[in-house]
C-alpha cells in the first residue's frame, strides 16, 4: 500500500506541475480550452487518488477547485484576474494539502478555509445553486473512488464529465456486430491479488457492457492442506454478448490496471462461427506517445507484459490526452524509474570510463600502441564511453521548471507579505540540472527571492516616482554555459544601496572607513556573515542569517555566487553550478608518495617551490606572507599523518585555499600534477568519515586518490589542526578495541 501511496504522491507532483503551467498560461493570457481541460483533469486526478487513500480534506478541496474549473470549462464562468488570483491561492493550498498528506501532517483547520469558501461561492454564483456541493464531495469519495483501479481506469475512456461511473461508458470505436461475442480468458497472477485488485470488480465492470456469462475454472487450485502461499490458480472464461458500441478495446481498458499481473486473452467470435479470429496477442497493449490523440479503443501493438513502468507512464499520457479527445500537443513520453537504478547505472558507467582510461594507459605502455587499428578502436571506445557517460548523467538531469514553479509561489507569498505587487518571469525552465542539485537549490533560492522582494523591489509609490511600472518584475533565468549551469535572479528594483551597505559594514567592523572598495566589493559585502541592511527585522528577511548562508549552501554544491547591481535598474545575483554532483574539478597533487585531490572551488593560488616567502614560528609552525598578510601553512603530509613534520619547506609547492568561512591557509605539498575532472566516490558508503578527507576518486591508472576536505585544513587559532590532532588520538583509542 505504501508503494501505491508513494506513487500517488509522485503523480501528484506531476499533476501539480501541469496545473501550475496551466495557471501561468492563464495569467499570461496564453490559454485555450485545452489549458483549462488539462487543469481540470489534474485536479480531478488528484481528487481521484486522494479518494483511494481516504484523504478527506484533499478530496473536499480538490472537489471545490474542480467545480470552479468545470464551470470555466463549460463557460459558466469567464477567466478574469479575480478568478486567476483565486486559482493561484487554490493551487497553493492544494499544494499544502498534498504536502501535508504526504507527511501525514494535519494542517490547521483554518488553513485554506477562506479559499475553500471562495471557491464554493464562485461555483454557487455560477450555477445558482446552494451549499449542496458538500455532500456531493462526500459521495464522490464513497461511490467513485473506493474501487480505485477499476474506476480510474474507466476514466480513460474519454468520459469527460469528470465523475466517471460505470454505465456512463461512451460509445467508442466501431460498433460491433450484433451477432458477435467476446470470449475473455482471464487468469490472475499472484501479483494482482498482492496489489489489492479484485477480479470481481473487473467482471462487474464488464457486466455493464452487455450480457455476460462467467465460468470459473478451479481445477488448478491446490488441495486445502497445501493451499498456504500457493500461487493464484483460478482462471475464468467470460463470454460477453456486447451492447452496441463495445469493442475489444473497451474491454481491454477494464484490464488496463492489471496489465502485467494477469494472463489475458480476448477473442471475438461471430455467433455462428467458431473462434474466427484470435484478435489479441497475449501481451497487453503498448501505447506509443502518438496514440494519445487517437481513440483509445484502437488495437495497439503488442508489447512485453513486464514493462509495467513504461505502461504506467503511457497510461498517464492517455490521461493527459483525455482519450478520444484531441490534445493540443503530444507530451513527451516519460517513464518513472527508481532513482537507485539510475544511480547504479551511473556508477557502472563511471567504472566503465575508468576501465577505459586504464586500458588506454596500459596500451600506451605497450610497444604495439603504434598499431593503428588498435589505437583507432581505443579512440572510438573513448568517444563512446564519454558519450555514454554524458547520456547517463542526463538521466538524472531534470528541467528546473519544477523548481522555478515553486519559486513563483514564494514570489506571490512574499509579495503579499511585503505589500508589494510583483510577478515572476521565468526563462530557460527547460534547462536541465542534476536532481540533487535542484533539490538543494530550493532553500537558497527561496531566501534569495524573499530578499529580492523585500529589499530589491521598491515600494509602489517609489517605483511610480522613479518612472517604473507599479508591478515589480523578478526574473529567474537558467542556462547552460561552458559545462556549468548558470541560474540568475534579477529584479528591476533600486539596486544595492552602496552608501548604506558600506555604512552598515563599517558599523559592524567588517571594513574600515579608510578601505578603498570598488562598487563590486561593496555589493559582495552582502555575502558576509551577519550582514543585513534591513533597519527593522521584517517578517521576510533581515534576521542576519542572510546571503552568507545562501553563499555557503551554493559553495557546498560546488557552485559560485556573484552579485551585480546597478542603481535604479536593479540587482542580479548569478549562481554558477556544476552540472552534476558526481563530478568535480580538482587539482591532483602528491604528498608522501600518495596522490591526493584538492577541490578547485577552494583553490585561490598555487606557488612553486622557492616562490614563497615563508617565516618560522614556535613549535615548527610556519606562516606565509601574501599581500601584506600572514597565512598559516599546513603541511598536508603531516596533517594526514602520512609522515613526520618536515624540517624544510624549500622543495614544497604551496596551495592557497579559502574555506567557506572566508579564512585562508596554505597547504604544503610535494608536487602539483595537474588539474582535472574527477568522479566523486563517497567513503561513508563502505567505510566511515575520515578526518581531513571529503571523498575519494579513481584515477586513470585505477588507483584511488583521496579528495582533501579543505575546510578541515584551515587551522583555527590555537586549536591546532583538527584533522591532525583529534584524528591521531582516536587512532590510538581505536586500536585497543
Amino acid at each position: 500500500m505504501s508503494d501505491l501511496r508513494d506513487m500517488f504522491f509522485e503523480e501528484c507532483d506531476d499533476l501539480l506541475e501541469v496545473l501550475s503551467t496551466g495557471l501561468d498560461d492563464l495569467q499570461n493570457e496564453n490559454s485555450d480550452a485545452e489549458t483549462i481541460n488539462s487543469m481540470f483533469r489534474s485536479v480531478h486526478s488528484i481528487k481521484g487518488g486522494a479518494g483511494a487513500f481516504g484523504l478527506d480534506r484533499l478530496i473536499k478541496f480538490a472537489h471545490a477547485f474542480e467545480n470552479v474549473l468545470d464551470d470555466l470549462r463549460s463557460d459558466k464562468l469567464a477567466v478574469d484576474p479575480t478568478i486567476t488570483a483565486l486559482m493561484f491561492s487554490g493551487f497553493d493550498h492544494l499544494n499544502d494539502l498534498v504536502d501535508a498528506a504526504r507527511d501525514d501532517n494535519d494542517l490547521p483547520e483554518t488553513d485554506g478555509a477562506a479559499v475553500l469558501a471562495e471557491l464554493k461561492q464562485t461555483t454557487q454564483a455560477a450555477n445558482g445553486t446552494t451549499g449542496a456541493e458538500d455532500e456531493d464531495a462526500n459521495e464522490v469519495s464513497e461511490d467513485d473512488f473506493v474501487a480505485l483501479s477499476v474506476n480510474i481506469g474507466l476514466d480513460l475512456g474519454g468520459d469527460d464529465s469528470g465523475l466517471p461511473d460505470l454505465p456512463g461508458l461512451p460509445p467508442l470505436g466501431e460498433t460491433s456486430d450484433g451477432n458477435s461475442q467476446f470470449v475473455v480468458k482471464f487468469e490472475a497472477d499472484s501479483a494482482l491479488y498482492a496489489r489489492g485488485h479484485d477480479p470481481a470488480l473487473l467482471f462487474r465492470a464488464i457486466g455493464e457492457m452487455g450480457d455476460l456469462t462467467i465460468e470459473a475454472d478451479c481445477s488448478a487450485v491446490a488441495p486445502l492442506e497445501s493451499l498456504q502461499d500457493a500461487p493464484a490458480s483460478i482462471s475464468w472464461t467470460l463470454t460477453l454478448r456486447p451492447d452496441d458500441g463495445i469493442d475489444e478495446g473497451t474491454i481491454r481498458e477494464i484490464f488496463e490496471f492489471v496489465e502485467g499481473q494477469c494472463t489475458l486473452e480476448i477473442s471475438e467470435m461471430m455467433a455462428e462461427e467458431e473462434a474466427s479470429e484470435l484478435v489479441v496477442a497475449p501481451a497487453p497493449a503498448a501505447k506509443a506517445p502518438e496514440p494519445v490523440a487517437k481513440p483509445i479503443a484502437q488495437k495497439s501493438p503488442a508489447k512485453a507484459p513486464k514493462a509495467e513502468k513504461v505502461e504506467k507512464a503511457n497510461k498517464q499520457e492517455a490521461k493527459g490526452g483525455d482519450g478520444g479527445k484531441k490534445s493540443s500537443e503530444p507530451r513527451n513520453s516519460t517513464i518513472r524509474v527508481d532513482l537507485n537504478r539510475v544511480d547504479r547505472l551511473i556508477n557502472l558507467v563511471g567504472e566503465l570510463v575508468i576501465s577505459e582510461a586504464m586500458l588506454r594507459q596500459s596500451m600506451n605502455e605497450l610497444p604495439v600502441s603504434a598499431n593503428s587499428a588498435v589505437s583507432e578502436a581505443i579512440g572510438q571506445l573513448k568517444t563512446l564511453s564519454g558519450v555514454l557517460q554524458e547520456s547517463v548523467m542526463a538521466i538524472r538531469a531534470q528541467p528546473v521548471r519544477g523548481l522555478f514553479q515553486r519559486m513563483s509561489r514564494i514570489v506571490r507569498e512574499s509579495s503579499r507579505q511585503a505589500g508589494k505587487t510583483s510577478r515572476l518571469v521565468m526563462v530557460g525552465e527547460a534547462t536541465e540540472v542534476d536532481k540533487t542539485v535542484t533539490e538543494r537549490l530550493v532553500e537558497p533560492l527561496t531566501h534569495m527571492i524573499r530578499n529580492s522582494v523585500d529589499h530589491g523591489l521598491e515600494k509602489a509609490e517609489d517605483r511610480l516616482a522613479a518612472g517604473k511600472p507599479e508591478m515589480g518584475t523578478i526574473k529567474l533565468e537558467a542556462a547552460h554555459r561552458s559545462g556549468r549551469v548558470v541560474i540568475s535572479l534579477s529584479d528591476d528594483g533600486a539596486g544595492v544601496n552602496r552608501v548604506k551597505v558600506r555604512q552598515k559594514a563599517e558599523e559592524k567592523g567588517l571594513v574600515r572607513p579608510e578601505d578603498d572598495l570598488t562598487d563590486s566589493d561593496i555589493d559582495n559585502l552582502l555575502f558576509r556573515p551577519g550582514f543585513s541592511t534591513a533597519d527593522e527585522i521584517s517578517q521576510l528577511s533581515g534576521r542576519g542569517v542572510g546571503m552568507d548562508v545562501v553563499r555557503s549552501e551554493i559553495q557546498a554544491l560546488g557552485g559560485r555566487i556573484n552579485l551585480q547591481s546597478e542603481p535604479n535598474k536593479g540587482t542580479t545575483i548569478t549562481i554558477s553550478l556544476p552540472l552534476t554532483l558526481a563530478v568535480m574539478e580538482g587539482m591532483l597533487i602528491e604528498v608522501a608518495g600518495e596522490s591526493l585531490v584538492v577541490p578547485t572551488v577552494a583553490l585561490r593560488e598555487t606557488l612553486q617551490p622557492g616562490q614563497a616567502n615563508i617565516h618560522d614560528f614556535c613549535d615548527g609552525d610556519r606562516g606565509l606572507s601574501v599581500n601584506d598578510s600572514m597565512l598559516p601553512i599546513v603541511d598536508l603530509g603531516e596533517a594526514l599523518g602520512f609522515r613526520s613534520p618536515l624540517k624544510n619547506f624549500n622543495n614544497q609547492s604551496l596551495l592557497l585555499i579559502e574555506g567557506e568561512s572566508g579564512r585562508r591557509s596554505a597547504l604544503a605539498v610535494d608536487g602539483i600534477v595537474e588539474q582535472r575532472e574527477v568522479v566523486i566516490k563517497g567513503l561513508e558508503q563502505n567505510y566511515q568519515t575520515i578526518p581531513g578527507i571529503a571523498a575519494a576518486t579513481i584515477l586513470g591508472n585505477g588507483k584511488i586518490a583521496l579528495i582533501v576536505d579543505t575546510d578541515q585544513m584551515i587551522p583555527s587559532p590555537g586549536n591546532g589542526n583538527p584533522g591532525l590532532r583529534k584524528g591521531s588520538e582516536l587512532t590510538e583509542v581505536n586500536s585497543y578495541v
Binding site: F642, Q685, Y687, I693, K703, I704, L730
Partner: protein
C-alpha cells in the same frame, strides 16, 4: 511433502568459506562473501586504525581493506602477491579482508559449532563466535559484525 522435510533438515546447515591466517584456520558464512581476489595495492588512509590497510578499487567501488591478522591481534601482515582479499558484504557495507589463503568451502551444521573457550583475551571473545571441528583442524567462526571497523568518534 518430502521436499519440505528436506528443507527442514537443511535449515541449520550452512556453507562456510574457510581460510588461514598464519597457522590458524578461520571461517565466514558464505552468504557474506562476494568474491575472492588476489592482493592489489591500496591507498593509505589518514588516521585510520592500524588494522585498516587502506582503500581498494573494486571495479570502481571504493572499499576498505582490513588486515584480519592485525584485527585479531595476530600481528601485522606485510602484503604481497600471494595474499588474498576476501570481499564481503556485511551490514550494508562492502569490505575486503586481507588473509593468507582461502582453503575451502565446507557445509557445516550450525549445531556442530562449539562455544569459544572462556579465555581472558577480549579479542577472542569479541571476534570469534565459536569453533567447528573439521577432521583434525579447529576452524574459528568469525563474528562479522564485530570485526567491521568501528565508527570513530569524529564520524559523528
Amino acid at each position: 511433502m518430502s521436499e519440505q522435510a528436506t528443507l527442514e533438515k537443511t535449515d541449520n546447515r550452512m556453507e562456510i568459506v574457510s581460510f588461514t591466517i598464519g597457522e590458524q584456520a578461520f571461517c565466514l558464512d558464505i552468504g557474506h562473501v562476494l568474491e575472492i581476489r588476489g592482493w592489489t595495492n591500496t591507498t593509505t588512509l589518514p588516521h585510520a586504525p592500524d588494522y585498516v590497510v587502506g582503500m581498494m578499487n573494486l571495479r570502481g567501488a571504493v572499499l576498505p581493506v582490513i588486515d584480519l591478522s592485525m584485527r585479531l591481534g595476530l600481528g601485522k601482515t606485510i602484503p604481497e602477491s600471494r595474499h588474498v582479499i576476501i570481499i564481503a558484504h556485511i551490514d550494508e557495507k562492502s569490505v575486503g579482508f586481507l588473509v593468507d589463503a582461502v582453503s575451502n568451502i565446507i557445509t557445516v551444521n550450525l549445531e556442530e559449532m562449539k562455544p569459544t573457550p572462556e579465555v581472558s583475551s577480549t579479542k577472542t571473545t569479541a571476534f570469534i563466535r565459536g569453533v567447528y571441528t573439521l577432521e583434525e583442524t579447529i576452524v574459528r567462526a568469525i563474528d562479522v559484525h564485530q570485526i567491521m571497523p568501528q565508527e570513530t568518534l569524529t564520524a559523528a
